[in-house]
C-alpha cells in the first residue's frame, strides 16, 4: 500500500467532513407557532432536544392533547420553517500536499482561509396529517442552492392506541439519543460527530454512517412518559442515497434506553445502540462506470455502543461510546469476486488482511446557564484497535478532536429562533498527513443561526 493512497483517503475523509459540515437540525419554529411553546420547551438549547421534546417527537410530533391534527389549526398556520446560518469562519489545516518542481504532491504547506460564508438553506415542514399520522419533509440545499431530500418520511403513530407501536417509512434520522441532526455546533469538523462517521484510513465503507439520515422503515415504541424507549430500523445499505444505486443489501439500527428520575438533578438516561449490516464492495461497470443496483460482494460492518445523558442540574454530559468493525474487504478496499471476467477488475485480498476494528468515546458537556445561553464543550477520541494490515502503524487514522463554544439566544419567543454562535474546533488525525505525520486542523467560527 503506497503512501499517496493513504493520504488521498485521509484528505477525502476530511473533505467529506467539511462539506457535510453544516448539518440539518429539526428545530421548528413552526411547531412553536402551532403550540404556542417556546423553543426552550422542547430544546435543551435549540436544536438539541430535551426530554419533553424527545417525547413530542416520539409521539409523532404530537402533544397528545387532541389538538394535534391540522383540523385544529388556524387556517393561516403553515408548518414551514426556514433555517440558515450566515457566518464568518477561519479554517486552517497544517499539512496539505502541494505540487512542487519535483512533481505532483511532493510538498506540504499549511493552508489557512477565512471569510464570510453561508451554510445551506433548510426548508423544514412537518407535523401531523391527521391524528396519529405524522410526516416530515426536509428539502435541504447546500451553499450553492443545490437541493436534496434530507428527510422525507411519514409515520403511523400509536397503532392500536399503544405508544409501543409506531412505524415510519422513508428517509429519516436514526434514533440516536445524541443526534447529529440536532448538534449544537457548526464548524466543519466540530459540526458533526466524528464517531458517527469514522472509518479507518484506507477503509472505503461509506455505509455505516449513523450520523446520516437513512432510507428504511423504523419501528419505535416508548412508555407513556417516554422513560423507556426502543426502536429497530431496517435500512437500505446505501447511506440514504435515493435511487437504488447500491446493491440489494440491508442493515439494521437498534436502540433502546431507559430514563431515571433523580429528583433535583433531572432525568438521567442510559441506553445502547447497534448498527449492523452488509453492503456491497463491488459493482458491475459499463464503460468503466458502475451500473446502479449491481452492487455485490456484500460484506459486513457493525457499530455499537452505549449512550448516556447525565444531568446534574444546569450541567449535563452527553456520552456515546462505540466499538466499530468493518470487514477486511472494506478495510482494504478490495473487491472480493470477479463474476464477469473482463468486466470488473478483480481484487485480491492483501496478504494477512484482517477486519478493522476501533473504539471511540465522545463526551459533550453542556452548561445551560439559562434557556437562552448555553456553553458547549466536546471531546472525541477514536483509536483503531486493529488495523486491516499489520504493517499500518497502529495509531494511523486515530482521531482526537475537541470543540468549545456557546450559543446565545438574545430573544426567545414562540415564533422564531435566533442564536449568536461562537465556536472553536481542533482536530488531529494521526499519521494522516501526506508525509505520514499527524494532520491537524482548526476552525474558528462566529455567526448567526436562525430559523423562522
Amino acid at each position: 500500500m503506497s503512501l499517496p493512497r493513504k493520504w488521498v483517503a485521509g484528505l477525502l475523509f476530511l473533505a467529506c467532513f467539511v462539506f457535510a459540515g453544516f448539518s440539518d437540525a429539526h428545530a421548528l419554529p413552526a411547531f412553536a407557532r402551532k403550540y404556542g411553546l417556546r423553543c426552550s420547551a422542547c430544546h435543551e438549547a435549540w436544536p438539541q432536544l430535551n426530554p419533553f421534546g424527545q417525547k413530542f417527537k416520539d409521539n409523532g410530533y404530537q402533544l397528545m392533547n387532541d389538538r394535534d391534527a391540522p383540523i385544529w389549526q388556524n387556517p393561516s398556520y403553515w408548518p414551514v420553517t426556514f433555517r440558515i446560518t450566515p457566518i464568518w469562519h477561519r479554517v486552517s489545516t497544517d499539512k496539505v500536499g502541494v505540487d512542487t518542481a519535483a512533481g505532483p504532491n511532493t510538498g506540504e504547506v499549511q493552508i489557512t482561509s477565512h471569510g464570510f460564508d453561508l451554510s445551506g438553506l433548510d426548508f423544514h415542514t412537518g407535523g401531523t396529517l391527521d391524528k396519529n399520522i405524522s410526516f416530515y419533509v426536509l428539502p435541504s440545499s447546500d451553499n450553492t442552492a443545490s437541493f436534496h431530500f434530507e428527510t422525507v418520511m411519514a409515520r403511523l403513530d400509536n397503532l392500536f392506541g399503544s405508544t409501543w407501536l409506531n412505524v415510519k417509512l422513508g428517509k429519516f434520522e436514526l434514533d440516536n439519543l445524541l443526534s447529529e441532526k440536532r448538534i449544537l455546533t457548526l464548524t466543519g469538523n466540530g459540526g458533526i460527530y466524528q464517531l458517527y462517521h469514522f472509518s479507518p484510513l484506507g477503509d472505503t465503507n461509506g455505509y455505516g454512517q449513523i450520523g446520516d439520515n437513512q432510507l428504511g422503515v423504523e419501528y419505535m415504541g416508548h412508555s407513556y412518559n417516554d422513560r423507556t424507549r426502543v426502536s429497530a430500523a431496517l435500512l437500505s445499505s446505501n447511506d440514504g442515497t435515493v435511487g437504488l444505486p447500491a446493491g440489494n443489501s440491508y442493515s439494521g439500527f437498534f436502540a433502546a434506553s431507559q430514563a431515571f428520575d433523580t429528583g433535583k438533578l433531572g432525568v438521567q438516561r442510559l441506553g445502547f445502540y447497534a448498527m449492523v449490516g452488509e453492503a456491497p464492495t463491488q459493482f458491475l461497470s459499463s464503460g468503466g462506470v458502475p451500473i446502479p443496483g449491481t452492487g455485490f460482494g456484500n460484506k459486513s460492518f457493525s457499530r455499537y455502543g452505549f449512550t448516556g445523558q447525565i444531568y446534574l442540574g444546569k450541567l449535563d454530559f452527553q456520552v456515546v461510546t462505540q466499538h466499530g468493525s468493518d470487514d477486511k474487504y472494506f478495510a482494504t478496499a478490495t473487491s472480493p469476486y470477479n463474476p464477469v471476467p473482463g468486466n470488473v477488475p478483480s481484487g485480491a485480498l492483501p496478504a494477512g488482511a484482517r477486519n478493522a476494528t476501533w473504539n471511540g468515546f465522545l463526551v459533550e458537556p453542556h452548561y445551560v446557564f439559562s434557556p437562552q445561553l448555553i456553553f458547549i464543550g466536546r471531546y472525541e477520541g477514536i483509536n483503531v484497535s486493529q488495523q486491516a494490515l499489520a504493517a499500518t502503524p497502529s495509531d494511523a487514522g486515530n482521531i482526537q478532536t475537541f470543540t468549545i463554544g456557546y450559543r446565545y439566544m438574545p430573544i426567545m419567543t414562540s415564533r422564531a429562533g435566533f442564536a449568536w454562535h461562537n465556536e472553536y474546533n481542533w482536530l488531529r488525525q494521526s499519521k494522516a498527513a501526506p508525509d505520514g505525520t499527524d494532520l491537524t486542523s482548526s476552525e474558528l467560527l462566529l455567526g448567526f443561526d436562525f430559523a423562522f
Binding site: L37, A41, D261, L373, P410
Partner: protein, 300 residues
C-alpha cells in the same frame, strides 16, 4: 502574520463571549423577584420550593402563562382555551369544594396530566421533584395561598360494583340534575343551554362532549369523573353538585356517564350493561320520575 491573526481572532472571540454573557446576565436580573418565592408545596414525600422552579417555569411555561403568571404570555392571544391566570388562585381540577383552593396534589396532577382539548401539554417527563417545585411556583403567583388554606378534601367512598340498578339510578340523576341542559340527552354537548355558555371572563365555552372520546378535563378514571361534578370546575359554568348528590349516588352517575362515552379502557362494564338494558337516552319532556330520596340533598 499568521500568529498575529490567530491571536486577534481569539481575542475577538473572547471579547464577544464576555459581551454576550454580560448582556444576558443583565437581562436575567431584570426579572422581578417575588417575595412569595419561599412558597412551598407538599405532595407525598416531596417538598417543592417555588424558588427552585424559576428556571423550569421560564423554560416551559412562560410562553402561555406569562412572566407574571397572569395567563398573558406571548401566545395567550392565539390560544383557546386561554391559559390559566395563576394570580386569581382559581382552578378547575380540585378535590375540594367549589370556591376553595385546590390541594397541592390537585395541581401536581394537573401539571403531569395536561389538559385535553387545550394546548396544555402533559408534563410527565419532568421529574416528580420538578413538578412539585412548579406547583409551588404556580402558587406563589397568588396571594390567596398566603391567606387561605386549601379547601377540605371531600371524602370519596370506595367505588362500588357496577350494577344495572346503579346505571339506571345514574340515568335518573342525569335527568333530575338536568345535566342534559348543557351536555345534551346523549352527552353530545348539544343541550338547550349549550350554546350560550360563558366562562368567568365572558368568553364562550363548550360543555364536555362525552361521545367524542377525548379525555375529560380533569382525568379519565372513575374517581376523576366523580370529582369533576362533585367539585364543579371553578371559573366555568360547570357547577358543584356536592350539595345535591349523596356520595354513594355519585357513583351511579359516574357509571351512567361512562355509558355515554365511546369504548375506552374504563367503560367496558358500563357499556355492556347499557347494551343489555337497551338503555335509551333520557326524554327531557317526560314527567320527572318520582323524586327519589336524593332530593333531600342539602347540608350534609
Amino acid at each position: 502574520m499568521e500568529t498575529k491573526f490567530m491571536k486577534s481572532s481569539l481575542l475577538l472571540g473572547a471579547a464577544s463571549l464576555l459581551l454576550m454573557s454580560a448582556v444576558s446576565w443583565a437581562q436575567m436580573t431584570k426579572y422581578q423577584e417575588d417575595q412569595r418565592l419561599n412558597m412551598e408545596a407538599h405532595v407525598g414525600k416531596y417538598t417543592g420550593h417555588a424558588a427552585d422552579a424559576q428556571a423550569n417555569y421560564r423554560r416551559y411555561c412562560v410562553g402561555c402563562h406569562g412572566v407574571e403568571g397572569d395567563g398573558q404570555g406571548e401566545n395567550a392571544q392565539w390560544l383557546d382555551p386561554q391559559p390559566r391566570n395563576f394570580t386569581l388562585g382559581q382552578f378547575k381540577c380540585r378535590s375540594t369544594p367549589s370556591g376553595t383552593l385546590p390541594t397541592d396534589e390537585d395541581l401536581y396532577n394537573s401539571v403531569g396530566r395536561g389538559f385535553d382539548r387545550s394546548v396544555m401539554p402533559i408534563w410527565n417527563q419532568l421529574t416528580n421533584q420538578d413538578k412539585v417545585d412548579l406547583v409551588a411556583y404556580v402558587k406563589h403567583f397568588s396571594s390567596k395561598w398566603t391567606t387561605e388554606k386549601a379547601g377540605e378534601v371531600f371524602p370519596i367512598p370506595a367505588e362500588p360494583e357496577v350494577t344495572a340498578d346503579r346505571v339506571k339510578a345514574g340515568q335518573a340523576l342525569f335527568q333530575k340534575l338536568e345535566c342534559w341542559k348543557c351536555h345534551g340527552v346523549e352527552g353530545r354537548a348539544n343541550g338547550p343551554s349549550s350554546d350560550t355558555l360563558q366562562d368567568d371572563q365572558n368568553r364562550p365555552i363548550k360543555p364536555y362532549n362525552f361521545t367524542e372520546g377525548s379525555r375529560p378535563k380533569c382525568g379519565s378514571t372513575d374517581r376523576d369523573i366523580y370529582k369533576i361534578f362533585m367539585s364543579g370546575l371553578d371559573g366555568t359554568p360547570m357547577p358543584s353538585f356536592i350539595d345535591n348528590v349523596k356520595p354513594d349516588e355519585a357513583w351511579d352517575l359516574v357509571f351512567y356517564l361512562r355509558t355515554l362515552q365511546p369504548k375506552n379502557a374504563y367503560n367496558m362494564k358500563e357499556r355492556a350493561i347499557a347494551k343489555q338494558l337497551g338503555l335509551k337516552p333520557i326524554d327531557p319532556n317526560a314527567p320527572a320520575p318520582a323524586a327519589p330520596a336524593a332530593s333531600s340533598g342539602g347540608q350534609p
